[in-house]
Symmetry: C2
Subunit: 741 residues, 2 copies
Amino acid sequence: MELVFMIPLAGLAAVFYAAYLAWDVLRRDEGTPEMQDVASMIYEGAMAFLRRQYGTIAALSIVTAIAIGVIVGAVSEGVKDILASGGSVTYGDRQVSPWEEGGLTAVAFLVGALCSGLAGYIGMFIAVRSNSRTASAATRSLKEAITVSLRGGAVSGFLVVALSLIGVSSIFLIYSEVLGNPKSIAPFLIVGFGFGASFVALFAQLGGGIYTKAADVGADLVGKVEAGIPEDDPRNAAVVADLVGDNVGDCAGRGADLFESMSAENIGAMILGVSIYAVTGDLEWIVFPLVLRSFGILATIVGLASVPFFAREDGKQNAMTPLNNGYFIVSALSVIGLFVTTNVMLGDEWWRFFLCGVIGIATGIAFVYITQFYTSGSWRPVKEIAVASRTGPATNIIIGTAVGLETTAATAITISIALVASFAIGAEATISGDNGTISGFSTGVFGTAVATMGMLMSAAYVLSMDTFGPITDNAGGITEMSGAPESARHITDELDSVGNTTKALTKGYAVASAGLAAFLLFSAYLDKVKERLEIPLNDPLPIDLSDVDVFAGGLIGAMLVFVFSSLAIRAVGSAAGDIIEEVRRQFREDPGIMAGTSRPDYGRAVDITARASLRNMIAPGLLAVGLPIAVGLTFRYVREDNDGWLAVSGMLMIGTIVGIIMATFFNNVGGAWDNAKKYVESGQLKDDTGQVLGKGSEAHKAAVVGDTVGDPFKDTAGPSLHVLIKLLATITLVMAPLFIP
Amino acid sequence: MELVFMIPLAGLAAVFYAAYLAWDVLRRDEGTPEMQDVASMIYEGAMAFLRRQYGTIAALSIVTAIAIGVIVGAVSEGVKDILASGGSVTYGDRQVSPWEEGGLTAVAFLVGALCSGLAGYIGMFIAVRSNSRTASAATRSLKEAITVSLRGGAVSGFLVVALSLIGVSSIFLIYSEVLGNPKSIAPFLIVGFGFGASFVALFAQLGGGIYTKAADVGADLVGKVEAGIPEDDPRNAAVVADLVGDNVGDCAGRGADLFESMSAENIGAMILGVSIYAVTGDLEWIVFPLVLRSFGILATIVGLASVPFFAREDGKQNAMTPLNNGYFIVSALSVIGLFVTTNVMLGDEWWRFFLCGVIGIATGIAFVYITQFYTSGSWRPVKEIAVASRTGPATNIIIGTAVGLETTAATAITISIALVASFAIGAEATISGDNGTISGFSTGVFGTAVATMGMLMSAAYVLSMDTFGPITDNAGGITEMSGAPESARHITDELDSVGNTTKALTKGYAVASAGLAAFLLFSAYLDKVKERLEIPLNDPLPIDLSDVDVFAGGLIGAMLVFVFSSLAIRAVGSAAGDIIEEVRRQFREDPGIMAGTSRPDYGRAVDITARASLRNMIAPGLLAVGLPIAVGLTFRYVREDNDGWLAVSGMLMIGTIVGIIMATFFNNVGGAWDNAKKYVESGQLKDDTGQVLGKGSEAHKAAVVGDTVGDPFKDTAGPSLHVLIKLLATITLVMAPLFIP
């Protein structure tokens, strides 16, 4: 247990570092009064939305927590001596009653929800105060602008990781040491934390995703298309809502998404560690994920601090280069941290798990390249879509769809290789202890868990790059609206384009980590089923793959992903409609707006967007939470006792796989369409005679159609699916007692 | 065995009825010389493509048959006494050697391929001779036009069903009676027949689907969009290719698709019947599917003959009404046939299986209504897309996608209910015989098999309605190109719109039947695994659902569906490009074409389309055939022995489910976009002020974009996925010996 001291150390280091960064950003120049004016409107709009959104989420969370307490308390027969069949450890006299289990799960749920909300709130608070400072810095140099925006983003990144680490560790400590539950039971009791994180993430991502794209699509349709005014034009009443939207979607939404991935991965890995702990009696196997995460935080602090050193003062470089270099430093340091941690904590065959972790880190890097290949204008896929735009919007959509469908190949193959290789390496390990020897399935799944942890070591860095996106996007908008000099606009444009890339990368990273984490949670769910059915953890469940209930559950799981996506996409259309109505009304009722003599009522547009988004997130949210429970109960009570958990297994497994694949499709096709439009705008597309087809050409119009279609795909449906995958896993894990006789 | 005489009786009845219909159609008036002129160009183009396509398929089939023979012969250890572990029946001395198994499978493959090809060829031959006769009839009355086109389509429908029944029965009879193999082994030996049918169907549907949409999209883009001439204008060199395309996609392609569904369902059900035969010793359980199919044929003959009686002489009715009435007659007679067959053949608890069959028939009817709801202009979904067209192509695509994703709910829930209910009812049956008693899993799966059979009893009727589609579409084109009177054009327009509905219905029906048939084949695959691993058929396989190989196989299975769709969609774009080039060249080189003084070279356009389609079908075809084998071999040899069949199980199960869901999405979204365009064209869409937004409006242009995007979705990717699902199942069933140690 030598390295356990690292957990509080790294947690505090992350918090202090975030505080330092926040102080550093806030003390900087806020820019001209015009900049501050725009920024304050964004700030107010964002905070108003966040208060309203988290208010709604808080109310839903409290109701859900009570429901969890009652359901688990009333239904569960108590946490049995879960390892009775797998080993022969004794845990003293402590017994957990059903109501206690329900209560503890409910409390963990609330703590998880609270930590996630807190990380999102503070991160956003800093992000929307970094934008005008970035705009101001852009009037001076690229280097300073990068530094400010990345630091602003890093506050969010570090808080998310720190609060996940501190939250999971504290609640584990309290539930085991303070309340005296056996350490092998505590991981099962804290799954509520993961569910709480999923729950907040679902609504944060859904609400934020709907808001951001409704505002974007609404502002574009009513401004660029109907009124014929440019993007970010201050006469458009929806323009502030659009700038607010970038924050609530990419900063708060993605933050909650990765908060959940990390928490779920930590808890899932701890549960899987229990079966090895049962054999060895070494607590290392349970707390290992927390220690490794701590090393990841330290690696990230160093990597992030190194970025300004890679930025050239004269600005004559691709702005992505310093960020990439920082990422490689984080990865390299992570490998070292992984080496130390596995070596010290994981027994004689530590090197096998070290290799598993390296696979995870490599997977993270691979996804960075795969995403770039499919969504950046330098490669075949985006060019192909741009060329298809020459024959109109229909061919742009057809070829774009074909490219998007194709991108799933690299994702599926990379995740499969990572899973199978880390499993195979882990399964070779033989771990002996006082209570026997363990090998094969349990150590294999633990290997995949270490791979997931390895990948997520760089989460804080990736998240910093992600939040960098909305900050630079906002800085661009502020520069435009405040009439700043051309040179500043040039710098923010460049940063904005880098921000688009980092946002796309984060989504690829989030999908991959969601896939790996979901596999862990799926294994944890089956462990829970075995525990209740009193089947040894190392034995397979006696079910037939061709069981009709598994198949039917699978069909419903695949369908859930599709229908959830449909609701999310439609929500954008519906909320955008409300915004369009409002902007049209303002144009109609005050002709001074169009003439530039009076200022539109931005606040009202922001408010209407917020209401519309929150209203529209309810239906998909309820579907995601309700359908797994409905399926489990229906199959258990209408069919037979055992069919409840069987149908849920099928639903979970196939829902996860289809969710990964569909999220990949949505994210990549949206990114590719976006960049195909940028490719056309940059004048790189030519017709057969060599004539450039740039802005304003028919080809450009066709490319804009693709870009608009891609918006709700890549910023609403895709990211919401990451969350759905993990929510499915945590909800079934928490509610499992309902489905098992 | 009282009813076995029905099999040859119904087979011959179907063949004679088809011959009578063909004679009746061919003796009718061929129309004016202008009509005959156009029709003969279509006829020549279609036959040229078919010869070329079937030539390619034949070559591929022969290579594949040899490969199958060698692989199965060399790898297999021979068909073991498969029931040794499940019962104690003895089969005499007959033993099948590995090479014999390989040879018999290869021969069955070739026979299956041949029957499928023959059905497609003759059906097409009549269909392309019915179009001018329909056009001619349309100059006289709606009733006569319906009669001719439906009879022309029915030739194809009956031949497909008859050749499937005769093919499966004959090869079963020869392999068991003539070659002396035990009747319990013969069903396993004839799976090659199903694989052959799948193989032909894959290429027929892919090649046909690419051809039809490449010609359609190409003709539209170069004609309507570029040159500004109307649809079916004789100056467009691609117009004949477009008319040919309707036949090769909807007639030959869909015919091969349903031929495969029926053959696969028959063989799968016979394999499942073996485990009951082992207990009872009653051969009824094996031949039941063939007898039930025979009753379906008789019901269809009566139903089809009744259609003209429902058509009013004055034409004052919805042309869909007579077709719907005929379908209800077929369904009612099918219930009676089902009652007789189950009662006579399936022992004391026959009524349980009768109920299962009724569930299947009801599922078929349900899909007719579900498809209509989502793709017809009378309901909310299509209207919603039309309204979204008012704000441009982007919102049309966004809302269309949302609607398409939503349609998967009804499909998934209906198929799930049908599967689970028929399984539950079947599982209640207890069947006793000389060799013990069987209940639960085996009788449950047999119940789902009976449901599938019940649904497919009406296949010939549905297929007749489907082929009715291209015939009426062609009749419309012929009427237009030959300058026939306005009244005739009015009748063919109405028939064409009915044809669009029947084509959409057939796809819904084909998805549902593919889903049910694939579940049977999945069970059959696992039976084969159990047989080789010497696990009793009634026991579950000892594998963990969270097995990493199953999960990875599943990811790859889901990805296969996406990448296959991508290739199919892209193939359309690529082939369409070739056609556009050719039409442009003809316009450029002969200005007389546009002036209407010289005739374009239709034949060359047809030929280029054919070459391009066949070239483009190779990549997706090879992917579909090669990937399952590659996955099985990789996991078996790179991982461990048992991981081959495990990964293939995951791939098969999740590929099937994702295939059903994606096919539903593609078919329905395409149909909905198509009809949203028609809705706008019919003048039903209005703006906020009540002004009609009809043909030529911006909303109409937006709706056309959706329609064009939907074309390769609904006519290439979607239908090809039906075939992919079943191909996956048959290929893994035949190749199973490769993946199992």
